[in-house]
């Protein structure tokens, strides 16, 4: 079997697409006062809700077909808004990520019965909760209802500017902190800048960290 590694294989660095949202969740560790508020229990999917050993292949699946989705309406709204900020349309009239249902894909991912994806669940849910809390704190509105410059202000903070303040903090051991570890085997990338310093210095060594290693 020829399994050539190419950069767009579905198996390689699957966390890449969620990395930015992961960075959002990292801020939950940076702003501990805004930690997760409506934590959901991890869904316990019955065996028959898994993909199975002989699924019908020539059929189009949509999120929710196999296992129930678990984001709250509020989290989903924040996720939709965030994906539209991450991937703005090239031309007026182009479909937005939220219109393509990217938030439902994220929901499918974190709600799945597979450890490889559901380990991202706290990253996403706590991050989304933090987004709304931070938006309320700064602008008295939910994230999705902010004007674009306000969304950008928060996003810019997440992308590095604020992190520098905490980069020399002592290692944290909460589960929220573990999300600021980079995925195993990846190198912090240049744009992360200050954030990579956080990754490098405050990687927790507690049992929560092991979750990130396959």
């Amino acid at each position: 079997m020829e399994n050539i590694p190419v950069d767009n294989s579905g198996q390689i660095d699957r966390r890449q697409a969620l990395k930015w949202i992961g960075a959002a969740a990292a801020a939950a560790a940076i702003f501990p006062h805004a930690s997760a508020q409506d934590k959901l229990p991890r869904p316990a999917a019955p065996v028959d809700k898994r993909i199975g050993w002989d699924p019908v292949l020539n059929k189009n699946y949509v999120p929710g077909d196999l296992w129930p989705l678990t984001l709250t309406p509020k989290q989903r709204k924040a996720a939709a808004s965030l994906t539209d900020l991450i991937l703005p349309p090239d031309n007026p009239g182009d479909k937005l990520p939220s219109q393509l249902g990217v938030q439902e894909f994220i929901d499918e991912w974190i709600s799945s019965p597979y450890d490889e994806t559901s380990k991202d669940r706290p990253v996403i849910t706590e991050g989304l909760d933090w987004l709304d809390a931070e938006a309320q704190r700064r602008f008295q509105k939910d994230f999705a209802d902010l004007a674009e410059p306000q969304k950008c202000a928060i996003a810019d903070d997440i992308c590095g500017k604020t992190a520098v303040k905490r980069s020399s903090s002592p290692p944290r051991t909460s589960s929220a902190a573990s999300v600021i570890s980079p995925p195993a085997g990846t190198t912090p990338r240049r744009k992360v800048g200050k954030m990579s310093a956080t990754w490098a210095t405050s990687r927790p060594s507690t049992s929560t960290d092991r979750r990130l290693r396959p």
């Binding site: 950069d7 991450i86 894909f105």
Partner: protein, 591 residues
């Protein structure tokens, strides 16, 4: 594929073929085209690529964007049914807990077996590859030569349809004119590599792949395949016309509903079935070969997986082509007073000398590939490859034998991780994704492993599968020949990535860390090696078990070496050759 039910079984068959993949498919094809009545037993379910292949689903149409999961390790759309690294209810075990001594075993439980998803790379073994011991004193010589097999390579290439070119390179055989189909053009990235590695003496040439780049010559091929057999010619001419040429847009690993690539279920079994000489029984898991008072095999006991009942069928000869591991398992489980250690195991070599391919990989990013104008880079996997080029340096390398290199470049169907942009958002983030989309390169080495005493399988003394059949326990150890080869691969890949101005990700200097786990390349061969001496091998050059000449091993189990060339084409060529010999022996009344 029309299959039969147990009620329709005949009381006896000329030949029972166990397994429906490359070896079983070729055996059944050759037998039935020559009027031999065949029963094929397949442990998995019936499978129809024409109606089941997800030709036009995108990754977004699959759960979790088609990512690798326990049940679908090669991704959701991979054409593997009820299998992968695990088969539910059918475990195998490891003799050691050391991860370096693991052997991972890929199985599928479906008609056509692993031919439904394989990479279709179809390289001939060269003359050296059949006489490795004579060249360097390691491993075993085959009891046959390239010239013995060449006519069967010609026939298999014509039958299944293989594209490629003749380059006249050392130990990289050419095919007779008109046998190969034209190869697809090299992609931009492939040409770029070719240009920049030429200074190292590294050749980049079209790969050979079992895919129809054009439709087959259904006018001339049938007579070349089946001289003096008008019925067979007519059947295969019709079957060839039912196959379309590739349109270069879908992933071969999903299978092919238009029959443009080779899989047993679209190429071997339909014409075999059209002869009227083939019965196929699915969900029939062979447990053991039965032996008569004359010491010859006379049938097979199988488990009907639907009812869980044990059943027996009778035949004048038995061909095992259940995959190397499964074939060894069946032999070891076929114990009788006459064969207390398993069938055809007087030499004690059943299960011994199992081999995989040496695999190591390295990826990198290549600025020269960034922001290329958008153009069609679809196709069939890699269009070129690098055959082993250092035959003259054998004494200087520190390891025996060699490897070929496959590599992937360009934009493919996007998936998670496409582009590999830095964390960020907005317009600049999108631009970075577009810039990096298709600017990666991945090299994979595929090299020869020397058979060794420490790599073998045996029956686990306690563990049984859900049908009560003892399972295989694997022992595995790479020798320094393999680990040093893997280190050489890594250094070569890093050198090539550097030569194209790219940045390699993580070259691994330690070969024992670079090398893939045993079995991971899914080129499992050996376990019942052929040889010239009945005391030192399990079969003769005709895949016939020395002790039970009416049992043939027509999968990779009889391989006594595993050249860097991917084994499937050779499995088919040897199966055809062995089956021709079986037919001749049956006609002469020798069996």
């Amino acid at each position: 594929m029309a299959i039969i039910t147990e009620k329709e079984l005949q009381s006896t068959y000329d030949v029972i073929v166990v397994g429906s993949g490359a070896g079983g498919g070729q055996s059944a094809y050759t037998l039935t085209m020559n009027g031999v009545k065949v029963l094929m037993l397949e442990a998995g379910r019936n499978y129809d690529p024409v109606t089941e292949t997800p030709m036009f689903q995108s990754r977004a149409d699959a759960p979790l964007r088609g990512m690798s999961t326990r049940e679908k390790p090669f991704g959701f759309h991979d054409a593997t049914v009820d299998g992968g690294w695990e088969v539910p209810g059918e475990p195998y075990t490891q003799a050691s807990t050391d991860p370096k001594q693991r052997f991972d075993w890929w199985r599928s439980r479906m008609l056509g077996g692993r031919t439904n998803h394989w990479g279709r790379i179809s390289l001939r073994n060269g003359p050296y590859d059949f006489k490795p011991y004579s060249r360097d004193g390691l491993g075993f010589d085959w009891p046959l030569s390239y010239d013995d097999v060449a006519p069967y390579y010609d026939k298999v290439e014509m039958l299944v349809g293989v594209y490629g070119s003749n380059e006249g390179l050392e130990n990289t055989p050419d095919s007779p004119n008109g046998t190969l189909l034209p190869p697809p053009k090299a992609r931009a990235g492939e040409l770029y590599v070719k240009k920049h590695v030429a200074k190292f003496g590294i050749p980049v040439i079209p790969i050979h792949r079992a895919i129809l780049s054009t439709r087959q010559d259904h006018v001339n091929f049938p007579a070349r395949l089946h001289p003096n057999n008008p019925k067979a010619q007519k059947i295969i001419a019709k079957a060839m016309q039912e196959r379309a040429a590739c349109f270069w847009a879908t992933d071969c690993g999903r299978g092919c509903s238009i029959k443009a690539n080779y899989q047993s279920t679209t190429v071997h079994l339909p014409p075999a079935h059209a002869t009227g000489n083939l019965d196929i029984l699915c969900n029939a898991h062979a447990r053991e070969v039965t032996v008569g008072t004359d010491g010859k095999a006379n049938g097979v006991i199988y488990i009907d997986k639907v009812t869980g009942q044990e059943r027996a069928v009778k035949g004048r000869a038995v061909i095992l082509a259940a995959s190397s591991g499964e074939t060894a398992r069946i032999l070891l489980n076929s114990k009788s007073n006459r064969f207390p250690n398993g069938l055809a195991n007087g030499s004690g070599l059943v299960g011994k000398y199992i081999m995989d391919t040496v695999g190591a990989g390295l990826g990198g990013s290549v600025p020269a590939f960034e922001n290329l104008p958008v153009h069609n880079e679809e196709g069939a996997g890699t269009h070129v490859y690098i055959p082993w080029w250092l035959y003259k340096d054998a004494s200087k390398l520190g390891f025996a034998r060699g490897y070929h290199i496959e590599f992937g470049t360009g934009r493919r169907m996007p998936g998670l991780g496409t582009g590999g942009a830095s964390p960020g958002y907005g317009k600049s983030y999108k631009e970075e994704v577009r810039q990096k989309y298709g600017a990666g390169i991945g090299f994979a080495g595929r090299g020869e492993m020397i058979p060794n005493e420490n790599s073998f399988c045996e029956l686990d003394p306690t563990v049984k599968d859900k049908w009560g059949i003892p399972v295989l326990r694997f022992h595995w150890k790479w020798s320094e020949h393999e680990t040093k080869q893997a280190a050489h691969m890594e250094a070569t890949f890093a050198m090539m990535i550097d030569a194209i101005g790219g940045k390699a990700r993580n070259p691994q200097a330690d070969g024992s860390k670079a090398i893939d786990t045993g079995g991971r390349i899914i080129h499992e061969v050996g376990g019942a090696i052929m040889g010239a001496d009945a005391k030192k091998s399990v079969t003769n050059q005709w895949n016939q078990c020395w002790e039970v000449p009416n049992v043939l091993l027509n999968d990779g189990s009889a391989f006594c070496s595993n050249a860097d060339k991917n084994p499937t084409l050779t499995i088919m060529a040897l199966a055809w050759r062995a089956t021709d010999h079986l037919i001749e022996e049956m006609r002469k009344g020798n069996l």
